[in-house]
Amino acid sequence: MSRTYDILGKVGDEQAFRQEIREWLAECTPKNWRVKWQGVREEDLKSEIIAWLGERRKVGLGTPHWPKEWGGPGLPFTYQIMVYEELSRADAPELDMFTISLFHTPATLFEHGTQEQKDRYLHGITHGTDIWCQGFSEPGAGSDLASLRTSARREGDHYVLNGQKIWSSGAMNAQYCLLLARTDNSGKRKHDGISYFILDMKTPGVEVRPIRQITGESEFAEIFMDDVKVPVENLIGAEGNGWNIAQSTLSTERGLLIFGSVERLARSFELDGKDARDTWMRDVQFRREYAALYGELQSVRLMIRQLLIELEANPDKASPTLPTFIKLIWGPFLQRYTEFLLRAEGLETQKWQPAIPGTSNSSRLRFNDFLKSYGWTIAGGSNEIMRNIISERILGLPRG
């Protein structure tokens, strides 16, 4: 019989807080979840993840990063960091499918939503199992997001949407979508005239087609909209202000998501070296390469820690450039490291295995992790865009 854990009650005593989480995780992390989750059907995976979310909610850690006003635990930032650190260290599964629901939707609605929108939608996230997705990118608007063309035409008490979205993570399971569409074509800049909507995925005219990825998984989908009626009350913020709201949606995770991924990788990096004690760690070349990659890993971890320290001190004064640098260093490092493991571990890594959801970039299935690393170099503004930002906005070089 499981004991009662009072993790939130330990706030004020960092050591006790950490200890309580560790004990809770030791007992309550789903047993053998890596084996169970590997290759399960989408519906079964969903109930596994929901069950784990339920466990987390029991101790108040369903949404550890939420402030009190949102119905979260209101943890000081240091404690939020500890939660993510311990979750990674214990190799607890990630809440795949819920990323948008737990991070982006509340941030958007709390800052820009009406009271009616908050009342209507947040309950399903805090207490229910509503899954949200994001409809930002389009086939013709990837890194150049502002050139999106999905149209929203006002007709009386609703908008009529037409167009296509792509790269929507988890759209197959989603009840709702945070959607950007163009309400006005006459703006001077392409950023003008974009509006931000809540789309009920069950609305007639919405069609979702999963995208099969190079990993064999289908985490993403395309969303097609054909004369989809969205009520006017589903507009978030003012018409035409969608671009600005989208910026705040994207900047709300405060480094915690990437922090979790990197800490998870740090854990598996250590295990990889230990497991190779009698194999490639006895090869002088691979051993040196591993030692060199350790330096890259540490540099990423230190940058993220720096960002978290700055955010904790004052979110408004945190370096606006550090996240860009982190993205440009972390993705390529991850790609190099996962590729290194393919070379070091040889033919064994070539044998295909179904992916393990919930493992972020550290499933330790070598080929899957390698392929998945592109998520960090392409998604969220490709690294080529990051290089433009650094050279133009930070180094002051002229636009080409």
């Binding site: 250590e270 070296g273 004690r277 760690m281 002088v284 051993r287 040196r288 591993y290 030692a291 060199a292 350790y294 330096g295 890259e296 540490q298 540099s299 990423v300 230190l302 940058m303 720096q306 550090l322 860009t324 640098f325 440009l328 260093i329 080529e384 990051m386 290089r387 433009n388 930002i389 650094i390 050279s391 133009e392 930070i394 180094l395 002051g396 070089l397 002229p398 636009r399 080409g400």
Partner: protein
């Protein structure tokens, strides 16, 4: 003193002074001569207390730690300053750890005011037999030995590892300078023939291996910091150049192929800074102190050497001329990479530490 001055302010004062006293043109001109060090600049920085940073307050020093050392070496690297600072940094650490009261008295105040300039043996330098009353032998590749007043050599005495401290003016000591690609520092061979020694020349550490590790840690952080400063400076010079140089009626800094390269360099330097700051912030007895220092050394010196290499290419033809600054930084970067353990040696040590964890 430590409490009164923040590391950030200290770093700013270092770079402000060197920016004025040792601008790019001076570094370029200096590299064309054959001086062994920038003597006037040395006197100036010594007068400002830079040589006294880590000397204990009891010996008229400022009693600061490795973060201050890192800030200083960062600034020296940024200016490619021809100052024999690393030997002094290490000598101070050695004397504090293993010097007798008399040796501290005799050497620390001179190191603090810059009148003592130390040349410090590499971790794999020749080990001299110091059992007799005279010393014979050769020690190659002593850093900054041509400008040194004192030699810090490795030896054995009565079956123990010792450090031998000799003034360069001692009878029987001769020094042959080796010319280097990097003109901002020197190496040289020390030749000892029947040099009379006595116990006051010897320092016997309690735990020689632990002290070696600690000296290696200080050297590694200092070199990583020097590299970081140089990397930032050569990238800044290159970006400046790219903003002014026009081809095809456009400044070359508008070409995306070039912009992306400097963007990568900038990001790499930001990442490198974290490694240096972290390694410098750890106490000597922190469990990961040596690992962090060696990691900073191997990663930062490598990354910067590559950036410095590309900065010549980004300058095009003028990058190949001695009038422009990038070659100064490339040469210094390559020396930083090789000093106190080549990358393979350092990586092997890191792997050892990781495996033992």
């Amino acid at each position: 003193m430590t409490d009164e001055i923040g590391i950030g302010e200290l770093a700013e004062s270092f770079s402000e002074f060197l920016g004025t006293e040792w601008p790019r043109e001076k570094a370029v001109a200096y590299a064309r001569g054959s001086a062994v060090y920038a003597e006037d600049l040395w006197s100036q920085v010594a007068a400002l207390g830079w040589t006294a940073l880590t000397v204990p307050e009891a010996q008229a020093g400022l009693g600061m730690g490795l973060s201050a050392t890192a800030a200083l070496h960062d600034a020296l690297g940024a200016a490619a300053a021809p100052l024999p600072m690393l030997g002094n940094t290490l000598a101070i650490a050695l004397i504090e750890a293993a010097g007798t009261a008399d040796q501290k008295e005799a050497l620390l105040s001179g190191l603090a005011d810059g009148s003592v300039r130390a040349s410090f043996a590499h971790p794999d330098a020749t080990i001299l037999d110091a059992d007799g009353s005279v010393l014979d032998g050769q020690v190659a590749d002593m850093l900054d030995v041509a400008s040194a007043t004192h030699l810090f050599l490795r030896g054995t005495h009565a079956g123990k590892s010792v450090w031998i401290v000799l003034p360069t003016a001692t009878s029987g000591v001769s020094i042959e300078r080796t010319l280097l690609a990097d003109a901002s520092r020197t190496l040289g061979t020390v030749i000892l023939s029947s040099v009379a020694i006595s116990p006051e020349h010897l320092m016997t550490p309690e735990d020689a291996a632990a002290l070696d590790d600690d000296l290696l840690r200080v050297a590694a952080v200092s070199l990583a910091a020097d590299a970081l400063g140089g990397g930032n400076a050569t990238l800044a010079a290159t970006v400046d150049y790219m903003k002014g140089r026009e081809q095809f009626d456009r400044v070359i800094g508008s070409f995306q192929a070039l912009k992306h390269r400097v963007a990568d360099h900038k990001a790499a330097l930001e990442a490198a800074r974290g490694l240096v700051d972290h390694a410098a912030s750890l106490d000597a007895d922190a469990p990961s102190a040596l690992l962090a220092a060696l990691t900073a050394k191997q990663h930062v010196t490598r990354v910067v050497a590559e950036i410095a290499r590309d900065c010549i290419q980004l300058h095009g033809g003028v990058g190949f001329t001695s009038e422009y600054v990038p070659h100064i930084y490339l040469k210094r970067a390559k020396l930083n990479e090789a000093l106190f353990g080549t990358r393979s040696v350092v990586l092997d040590r890191i792997a050892d530490i990781l495996e033992a964890a």
